[in-house]
């Protein structure tokens, strides 16, 4: 098992190296890109000289490989360079905003588990019943409705009906005022949890159905265990491995969804930062933020794979 964990840990830097090289190549090496995006520094009728000067200033005149390894070397020490637009430290901006995004992601996953798991179990207890059927329709609708539409409806319908809006103009940090903060972040978390919970419920249902009719479940019933014990301790427990994988994947989906949710609900997290970076064509910032997202995603998947061995002792790597 330790050999496996070490092997996986060794793979992580290679993956990040590959991804960063790919993104670097995509973002940086289109000629004139970074220089031309800095319109603020170059007049509209920019001369070749101005562009060349700016490129020299930003170090873009050096060979691509040199640029990349310069960037990567700094990135390893936690320095992701500075934003092209406002010359602020990218690591600083991410550090400021990362906690807000992580908070929403964790909250979303908690809501997802709290709703998705019971719904899935309810659905699986009596497969084919009207309850199962209607829950299946609800969950398939849940994974079909795009989060940005749910968020949009959440913003307009309460205003029309009750003149109340869940949108807060001023974001409050958790450390400043935990209660007020929760009142703000609960909405994007709920919106993102709709599809995640529906997805988790579907997985729980199908993986429980796989074991519901197996021999050991029949044995458990035969020896007179209460139905609740059979369902929870025998059937549900066996689907924990699948559930873990899915929740890990949902974490990634939620991180991706944060770009949309944070933009709609005006939450200053790294999702919104990504959105702004893309719109300002701020390539260094896009690269930095994307790599932070990738690092989180890769580490979560790694953690899930390692957790397997604890949840399911049969799995030995």
């Amino acid at each position: 098992m330790w050999a496996y964990i070490i092997r996986r840990l060794i793979a992580v830097p290679f993956m990040l190296f590959g991804l960063s090289a790919l993104l670097f190549w995509l973002l940086y090496l289109r000629p004139g890109n970074a220089a031309l995006t800095n319109f603020g520094l170059v007049s509209p009728d920019q001369t070749k000289d101005a562009v060349a000067n700016l490129e020299k200033d930003l170090g873009l005149d050096r060979p691509a490989v040199v640029q990349y390894f310069d960037w990567a070397g700094h990135a390893l020490t936690g320095d992701l360079g500075e934003s092209l637009k406002n010359r602020r430290s990218i690591s600083g901006q991410i550090g400021e905003r990362l906690p807000n995004t992580v908070e929403i992601a964790v909250l979303t996953i908690l809501i997802t588990a709290a709703i998705g798991i019971p719904v899935g179990i309810l659905s699986a207890i009596r497969p084919g019943s009207w309850l199962d059927y209607s829950l299946r329709v609800v969950t398939i609708a849940g994974i079909s409705i795009p989060s940005f539409w749910v968020a949009t409806l959440l913003l307009i319908l309460p205003v029309i009906w009750w003149g109340w809006t869940p949108l807060h103009q001023n974001y409050v940090n958790f450390t400043t005022d935990p209660l007020e903060n929760l009142r703000i972040v609960i909405w994007p978390a709920l919106v993102l949890a709709v599809s995640s919970a529906a997805y988790v419920a579907r997985i729980v249902r199908s993986s429980m159905l796989e074991t519901l009719y197996s021999d050991y479940v029949r044995t458990a019933r035969a020896k007179g265990l209460r139905e609740r014990v059979v369902i929870i301790q025998h059937v549900f427990r066996s689907s924990l491995v699948t559930l873990l994988t899915v929740i890990g994947l949902q974490f990634g989906a939620v991180l991706g969804g944060s770009v949309i949710a944070e933009q709609i609900f005006a939450i200053p997290g790294i999702g919104l930062l990504t959105y702004q970076a893309v719109f300002n064509v701020d390539y260094t910032l896009v690269l930095g933020v994307t790599m932070v997202f990738a690092l989180m995603f890769v580490l979560i998947n790694l953690a899930v794979d390692i957790l397997y061995t604890f949840v399911d002792p049969r799995i030995r790597y």
């Binding site: 991804l19 289109r30 409705i145 940005f148 307009i156 199908s206 896009v286 994307t290 997202f293």
Partner: protein
Amino acid sequence: MTQATATSFPLDHEYVPPRRRLGGLRRFVTREPLGTIGAVVVLLMIFGAIAAPILHTTNPKAFSADVLSSPSWDHWFGTTREGKDVWSRVLYGGRVSLKIGLSTVVISVLGGTLLALVSGYLGGIVDFVLGRITDVLVALPAILFALTLRTSIGQDVPDVPGMSQGEILLVIAICVVFTPVIFRIMRGAVLEQRNAVYVEAARVVGASELRIMFRHLLPNLAGLMIVITSTTLPAAILTESALSFLGVGVEIGTPSWGADLSGNARQFFVDAPWIAIFPGLALSLTVLAFNLLGDSLRDTLDPRLRNKR
């Protein structure tokens, strides 16, 4: 059935068994009512998109003085703040969604399967390299990767008839994100089949590797390909609309369900909720219909996958 055949047509080689296509369809309709509803809605959406010009629509990009009017006989779904007819935009938006959804799915399913065949069957260095590239490409949440790709690939895109630059860029971005995922699933299936008896038999009679891959393995992957197509299509449509919603999708002004829900239009949603409700409803219904259909197809075509996903 066999008995009846035996008695009424003894040794009759002319006998052609009745075609069972419609029988299969009838069985699908009775066994999968939800899938049937999905199929009907999908067909309606496709019809609406194709027949848009004759379905009480006006030019979806045309401005008019009739701004922010609520749904009426002239404007079934009301008008936007620029006086554009929402009903027309929903139908023409369906064209964009279906066009992008279908082209990404065809490219990424065919591409992913082809790569999986080569990689899974031949193995070796090809398999290793493709596997590592896949590891890198799936190391980012899909929507983020598509967003980064869509903004970084830019200037020189090939011309494709019937598609605008923005649409081509969307197709490329979504394909790059989806192909590795499909590749992984298909590669697993290829590995499963590689040592099957029928492959061995083909090898024994001297079939070439290419022949085994395309004449023997590929047909056995067809069912899985259909299932993956039906589950990837709604995902592709959702990704397109999300990117358009974020403002990096189709060109400004092009009717698109995602784009129509974003931007400056948002400040008019409370006063004119029909601008927000109808495109979102069309998008959700389409994706829901495809998902219902895909679910039923999976149950029908691939019983092994019945309890997966």
